[in-house]
Amino acid sequence: MSFEGIPVYKEKAYFKSAEHGGGEVKRHSFIVVGSGPIGLAMALFMARKGHQVTIVTAFDFIPAGSKGICYSKEALDIFDDLGIGERIVEKGVIWNVGKVFWGDSSDPVYQFDMLPVKDQKNPGFVNIQQYYVEDYLVDALEAMDNVQIRWGHKVSGIDVGENASTLTITTRDSKYQMASDYVLACDGSKSTIREFMGLDFDGRIFEDSFLIADVKFKQSRPSERWFWFDPPFNQGRTALLHKQPDDIWRLDFQLGWDVDRDAAIKPENMAPYIRGILGEDIEYEEDWVSVYTFQCRRMANFVHGRVIFAGDAAHQVSPFGARGANSGLPDVQNLAWKLDLILRGQAPESLLESYDVERTQGADENILNSSRSTDFITPKSETSTVFRDAVLELAGEYEFARPLVNSGRLSAPTPYHHSPLSTPDRDEFAVGPKPGQVCVDVPICQNGEYYWLLDSLDDGFTLLHFGQNPPQTNIQTLKLSDAGLAGQRYGAGTTYLVRPDKIVAARWANASENDVKQAHKKAITGEGK
C-alpha cells in the first residue's frame, strides 16, 4: 500500500475537527505540527506533563519504507522517559559492536564498541524500523484522554503574530483555521512552515547517492554493524549492513553521483550487490528499496518568536552515524520541559532562548561529525582519496591508524559547554558528568532493591546527593550511597542539580542550600552567575 509514493504501514482515521465549518477560531496554547517521531515525542512529553495536546499532520497513516533504524542509547533513555523504551528494546535488535572491512578481507581493519561504559540500563544501540517507533508513540498518545491527533490535516498557511499565530488547515473536504500561542514545527526536512515563513536552511549537499535496500532473509549473522570500504561487490565504493527485527536487514550501497535511480532499483540490477553480501544460495525478498542523496544543513535559529522548530525541520544530516531522529529526540526533550515551565508561569519566556543555544550547538556537532564521515566515505579530491586509502592500508597492521577510520561516528549526546543554564564548577571534580553533560546511568540499590539511576530521576528537577547529608531544599532530592559504582561515577559526598532532561545544571563537592537555590534559578532563567 502506498500514498503519493510513500509506503503505508498503518492507516489512521481522518475525522473532521470541532473547528471545521467556520465560526469562532479556537485559541490553543500550543499545536504540534507533524506526526514523525519528533512531533509525536514532543506531543507525548507535553501530554505526560498534563497539557491538552493537539497534533495536526498531513499524513493519515504511519509511513513504512526505509527510514531510520538505529536508535542510540540517548534516544532509548528518552523513550524510557516517555514510557515506551522497554517496548522498543524488546522488539528491537540490540547491538554494541561495529566492524569495518576493507577490500575482500574477512578480517575487520577496525572494530568499535558503542557502549564503552558498561552497567547501564540501555545498550549502545537498538535497531528497529522507524514505523514501529512511531506506532508505539501513537499507541501511548492514543491511550491518553488529553491528546488529539488530527490525521490528514495539513498546514497550508501560517500567519505569524507576536503572541499567537493563525494556521490554515486543509483537509480532504475543507479548510479551517486554528489559532495558537505556540507552534511547534516538527514538519520534517521539507517543512512547509519554514518555507511559508521564508526562513533559511543552508548547508552542503553531498554529491553521492545510496541504494538503501531493506531485504528479508534468514541467515544467522551476528547483531553487529558491518561496514565495507571497497568490497568486491561494490568496487571503489562502500556498503553497510544492519540487522532489523522480523528477519529484515538494511543493506546500503554507495552508488556515486550520476545514477539512473529507476534503473538502480530494478531487481536484476540490485541482485549482484545483495548477492555480494548474502552469497549465492540464500533466498531473499525485497521489503522496500529506494535511492537517497543526502545533505547536511540547519536553520540559523530554531526559535522564531513563538514558532519553534525541531527535528528534521530544523536540521538535517547524512545518515552515517544515525544522527537524524537521534538528534531530534533530544530537541523535544529539551524543549518540552522549558515550554511546560513557561506555560505554568514558573519560568520566563526567555528560557526558550536556551533551547536555541543548546540545540543549535547539538545540530552543529551532528553536522560536523556527519560531514567528516561523509568526507571519509566519499573523498572529495584525489588527495583526499589517497589519505583515506593510506589510513585503511595502515589500519590492518598499525593500531594508531584504526581510530582514523571513519565509517560514521555514531550518535552520542552533545555536551552543552556554554549553556546559559549551567553553573560552572566551583569545586574540583576528578569524575562525574560536568555541567551541561547528561547524567551517566548506574545501578543503585535502595532498601534492598535495585534500580537504574536514570529511571529514578524525577520528571522535574532532581537533586542527586551521593552521601549522608544533602542540602535541605524544596527540590525533589534523591539521596544515594556513594559506595560502589555510583561513587566511582559521581564522586563521594557530591551533590548534582539535574534538569528534567537529565542534564547536569550544577554540581558541588560541598553544596549549601543557597548554592542549590542560585543554580536552580539560573537553570530556569538563564540569569545569574
Binding site: 586509502d389 593510506a390 594508531f400
Partner: protein, 66 residues
C-alpha cells in the same frame, strides 16, 4: 605532553642530509600516485608520533602559506 607546546621551527633534525636523501630515494621510480600514497602514509605516521594537536595544526597552517 604539554598542550601549549608549539611547532619547533628551529633546526632539530639529526644528520639532516642522510634523512633528506632517504626521503628522496624512497620516491625513486614511483608513479605520482604511489608517491602520493607514500607521502600520505609518512605524514600519518609522523602526525601520530607528534600527537600534539596544536603542533600539527600549526604545521598545516604554516605549510599553507606561500
Amino acid at each position: 605532553m604539554k598542550t601549549s607546546e608549539s611547532l619547533n621551527t628551529t633546526a632539530n633534525l639529526q644528520d639532516c642530509d642522510t634523512v633528506y636523501e632517504a626521503l628522496i630515494n624512497a620516491h625513486e621510480g614511483l608513479s605520482d600516485k604511489d608517491s602520493a600514497k607514500l607521502n600520505a602514509k609518512l605524514i600519518l605516521f609522523l602526525i601520530n608520533h607528534i600527537g600534539n594537536k596544536n603542533v600539527i595544526l600549526e604545521a598545516i597552517e604554516k605549510s599553507q602559506a606561500n
